[in-house]
Amino acid sequence: MQMNFNEERPIYIQISEGIEDAILSGAFQEESQIPSITELSVNYRINPATALKGINILVDEGNIYKKRGVGMFVAEGAVERLTFKRREKFYGNYIRNLVDEAKRLEITKDEIKTMIERGFEDEHRD
């Protein structure tokens, strides 16, 4: 989980999205334990209240659950729910920005289509 706290979004949102990413990539498997609030705060040098606020977003959406005295775990079905949530946001997060930037650079719709094709073919890109 890499964090860059200089961006526009509040830190707690970045923490919650960072954990979502880790769940989606399989780094945190369903029913496996995730780092504690203390571990997250120490590691990213953030206030524990901020880490808790980020985690609570995942708890409220049912993707993380807490076991008293044991720790926090990824809920069953979290990957499916998060995939659905991210798909809903895909247009706003990616397509709109892509089209805005393309317009600034005067890249045509067809050129973008070609690039998207290339993106899908090029499996080994970094």
């Binding site: 526009e8 509040p10 203390t38 705060s41 206030n47 524990p48």
Partner: protein, 282 residues
Amino acid sequence: MSIEIKDVSKNFSTTQALSRVNLTFDNNKIYGLLGRNGAGKTTLLNIITNRIFADEGEVIVDGIPSKENDQALQKIYMMSEKNYYPTNMKIKEIFAWTKNFYQDFDMDYAKKLADLFDLNINKNVKSLSTGYTSIFKVIIALSVNTPYVLLDEPVLGLDANHRDIFYKLLIEKYSNFPCTIVISTHLIEEVSTVIEDVIIIRKGTIIKNQSREELLSQGYTISGKASSVDSFIVDKNVIGTETIGGLKSAFILGSINKETIPTDLEVTKLDLQKLFVQLTNA
């Protein structure tokens, strides 16, 4: 459980160091007390810990006025920028001495931290470099276990690795044994993610006192071509600008409507450091 500062004023001959300061440090929170050099940060901390006395107003610790009251003062540990320790004493002697006054001082933990920072506790305080003088004081502050810990410029002279260790230890300590921590500093970028509430002091007056998130959500930065920025900001509450060549950034207070922002301008959040510089300029 709190430290309440009520209407505190302090003058040094002709300069007013603090002017009617009202503040509350609540239970188990990390505060950033931010101000430029000479803004009154240390004066305020010194008044809280009875090193100097206020001309007017009072400080209440857990309901008890702190003035010349040992019971109240034992709840507060202050790490000062200045060294108040006898310099011919060994570090381990000062640890023992601290334990006499602050009974919850954790000697084993202090020794463990000394190892971690490579500090030889058989050394005299006067033989320490600036950085290690800070480290030795930081170790006491982290081991003292009082409900209130005041840190005045804690990372003075510490290198990047030691600063990183310090912030991590501080967060770990706070997570495991919650207490109220006040970090007074002008190195804002470093503490900005650590603190929960921000207090900005300017020329002896408190000008901001709210949660970091709330403060940062009250404005935004807009940047792009100078002429576009200029036309965008005419009707905005601008607290400052920066120009490099034809590029300009403007720091704006107010809520943001993304739809109305021209596509050639970029919006980013305010960062605490920039906001601080703008608010405390001049």
